[in-house]
């Protein structure tokens, strides 16, 4: 029983990370009906920048309590700049083009970012400096570490902040209006370009936070880590209902738990035929199942009305 609990806890942590990244996908899709494949690479950039800055600061003797927030701030700044640049250069010119064009462009941007990261940081793995001393707590037979608790808290705070932003501020209202019907929102006095830029800014900031948390959880970062993560987070967003912010949260958490339990039990379930190195198939199996049986996702999709 405590194994199940432990796998569930691991799954929740993994799910929080997926949820953070899925939010970026879902917000952009809600407004632009564009799957921003480059978002996974923005997470990777956030992870790499935070690891590099943190390593440099701790090597220079800066205390951890100051170095971590500084690394986070640096990651947020770089990711936001990257996200806005990508939007301006790659997506805005294609705003009124047929849907396939920005999709392919997004894939291209993803490849460009991966290769830029490879040129800049090299191909070896970067190590997250062991600045947080791992302390383990016993909870009903399962173990939770302080890093995991930190991830949960930071993820919850960030997502709560996002919900506040979207539901209780003017900008949030403008975002929801633009998501509902871009032209009419423009007619009602919403500066659509600004709102779209703001969406990318918020999404990229979330990506930066996710990047730092992922790097601290696994202890390493490398230029290739964004690709698979992006695909899985996208699957999570579809699972919850694309365009739907609570949907992304639910989808992320669910996917994390399913993947964790699946990887843990697949050996027993298939009698040794499939091993735990097939961990990654769960996200995509879910994607196929959702698109086949309930394409609008669990909580229903929320995309622009085309009437």
């Amino acid at each position: 029983m405590d194994v199940l609990l432990q796998q569930l806890i691991n799954g929740l942590i993994l799910g929080s990370l997926y949820a953070l990244v899925a939010l970026g996908y879902t917000m952009v899709y809600g407004i632009l009906e564009l799957i921003n494949f480059a978002h996974g690479e923005i997470v990777m950039v956030g992870a790499m920048v935070s690891v590099s800055v943190l390593a440099a600061l701790t090597a220079a003797g800066v205390p951890v309590a100051l170095a971590l927030p500084l690394a986070l701030a640096a990651a947020v700044v770089v990711c936001v700049v990257a996200g806005v640049l990508v939007e301006r250069v790659a997506y805005r010119p294609l705003r009124n083009a047929p849907r396939l064009a920005p999709l392919i462009t997004a894939i291209g941007v993803s490849i460009v970012l991966q290769n830029l990261a490879m040129i800049f940081w090299g191909r070896q793995y970067l190590s997250f400096p062991p600045v947080i001393e791992v302390q383990v707590y016993d909870v009903l037979g399962a173990t939770v570490s302080n890093i995991q608790i930190l991830i949960l808290i930071v993820a919850a705070l960030t997502m709560g902040g996002l919900l506040l932003l979207v539901n209780r501020t003017r900008l949030g209202r403008a975002m929801r209006a633009t998501a509902q019907n871009r032209e009419v929102a423009g007619l009602m006095g919403v500066d659509v370009n600004r709102v779209i830029a703001a969406t990318f800014i918020v999404g990229s900031a979330l990506a930066a936070v996710a990047g730092l948390l992922i790097a601290s959880y696994y202890g390493i970062a490398h230029y290739n880590m964004g690709f698979l993560l992006g695909l899985k987070a996208f699957s999570a967003a579809v699972l919850g209902g694309i365009g739907n912010i609570p949907g992304a949260l639910l989808g992320g958490l669910l996917l994390g738990v399913i993947e964790s339990l699946g990887a843990g039990y697949i050996g027993d379930l298939t009698g040794g035929f499939l091993g735990s190195h097939y961990q990654d198939i769960f996200a995509f199996l879910i994607l196929i199942l959702v698109l086949t049986f309930r394409p609008s996702g669990l909580l229903g999709e929320r995309v622009a009305d085309r009437a």
Binding site: Y125, A263, S276
Partner: protein, 379 residues
């Protein structure tokens, strides 16, 4: 127009045949293949540097073959630790006319590449591939300077059972990792231990929390991992984050300076095996460390082995009086040489005779040798 074409054609034909013309005048190419980019680049570079040290030293002593002075040239290629790239690169080297190859690093790369070298009769001495399958293919061109995984797995399994009877194993499903763990499992069971769980991962994964949780539930006394340091390091880190205090053991793919760097304080107490003697205990170790350090810095793992691989190839050529593989292969088989790593002789399959395996433990952030199993002294 026709005269320009004619000139271009003549120049082209001349430049095409020029390399072989140059070779005939005394340049002998030796290939060196290892992953020079990617997560294992530090190990691949180590191999290149070791071979380069040997080749440069030999060139400085003005060697001659058949009365003609010769110079050896190292042709270095990057196989990215990928089996597909390894075959492409092997074909490229063979086409460029190399007379011997030092490489590859990963067994998963050496095995497919060895087929290409064997078809073209090019002898291959691997400084690092330990999978048993590598020399089991029946080729007469495959050699290695490290004890293979049946010896390494045996040593790991015996040591693990000493730490506790309940052993959990993880492998990364590569030819190396899988082969090593298969041997470890056999050895654990032969030593009276029990393999309580076996999980799998890939050589690109970073998330091991699910499989570690599953293994933790089986209450192992020790966890043995078959794979390379980019996976071993996060794995041991995640083990400590999950509250697992179990001792962590691995093979030569993990026994590197990079492992300690990536894993941080979680590396403390980890045990890694490596075929061969510890650098300080190698007969030529002190001198090699000094010469290598002056030029390239710190030795990772494989430099002494690639150094001796190059030396063994070249010495066979010098003894046979010819760089042609058909001529010097019989000499290579008969090698009896005291290299940096110790006495070198090959058995019928191309394996190193009496190869020792050393177990190291991370103490105070450094790998310290704990025990050497096997080796010529142990006869």
């Amino acid at each position: 127009m026709t005269s320009k074409l004619l000139i271009a054609f003549v120049l082209g034909a001349a430049s095409w045949s020029m390399p072989t013309w140059l070779s005939a005048a005394g340049t002998i190419e030796i290939g060196c293949v290892a992953p020079l980019t990617g997560p294992q680049a530090h190990l691949g570079k180590d191999i290149e540097n070791g071979a380069r040290l040997a080749v440069d030293a030999i060139n400085a002593s003005t060697p001659t073959i058949g009365g003609q002075p010769v110079q050896f040239v190292l042709l270095v290629e990057d196989d990215q630790a990928d089996p597909k790239t390894a075959t492409v690169v092997a074909q490229k080297l063979v086409d460029e006319g190399v007379k011997g190859v030092v490489g590859h690093l990963n067994s998963g790369a050496s095995i497919p590449a060895s087929r290409i070298y064997a078809e073209n009769g090019v002898p291959q001495v691997s400084p690092a591939s330990t999978a048993v399958a590598y020399t089991n293919q029946g080729f007469d061109t495959t050699y290695r300077l490290m004890a293979n995984d049946s010896q390494q797995g045996k040593a790991l399994g015996q040591y693990a059972t000493r730490l506790g009877k309940r052993v959990a194993v993880v492998d990364d499903r590569t030819a190396y990792g899988q082969g090593l763990i298969d041997e470890v499992v056999k050895s654990v069971e032969a030593s009276g231990g029990k393999v309580v769980g076996r999980e799998y991962t890939t050589d690109k994964s970073t998330d091991f929390t699910a499989i570690l949780t599953s293994l933790k539930a089986k209450r192992p006394d020790v966890v043995v991992f078959g794979g390379m340091d980019p996976q071993a390091a996060p794995m041991v880190r995640q083990m400590r984050t999950l509250g697992m205090k179990t001792p962590f053991m691995g093979g030569d793919g993990m026994q590197s300076a990079e492992f300690i760097k990536l894993a941080g304080p979680a590396a403390e107490g980890a045990i890694g095996s490596s075929p061969g003697l510890p650098l300080e205990q190698m007969p030529g170790g002190a001198d090699f460390t000094k010469r290598f350090g002056e030029r390239f810095g710190k030795v990772q793992i494989y430099a002494p082995f690639s150094h001796d691989a190059a030396v063994v190839l070249i010495q066979a050529m010098l003894r046979a009086g010819s760089a042609e593989p058909k001529q010097y292969l019989p000499e290579l088989v008969k090698t009896q040489f005291d290299g940096v790593i110790g006495p070198i002789a090959f058995d019928a399959k191309g394996d190193l005779r009496d190869g020792p395996v050393t177990l190291y433990e991370v103490k105070g952030g450094q790998w310290q040798p704990v025990e050497t199993i096997g080796g010529p002294a142990a006869k």
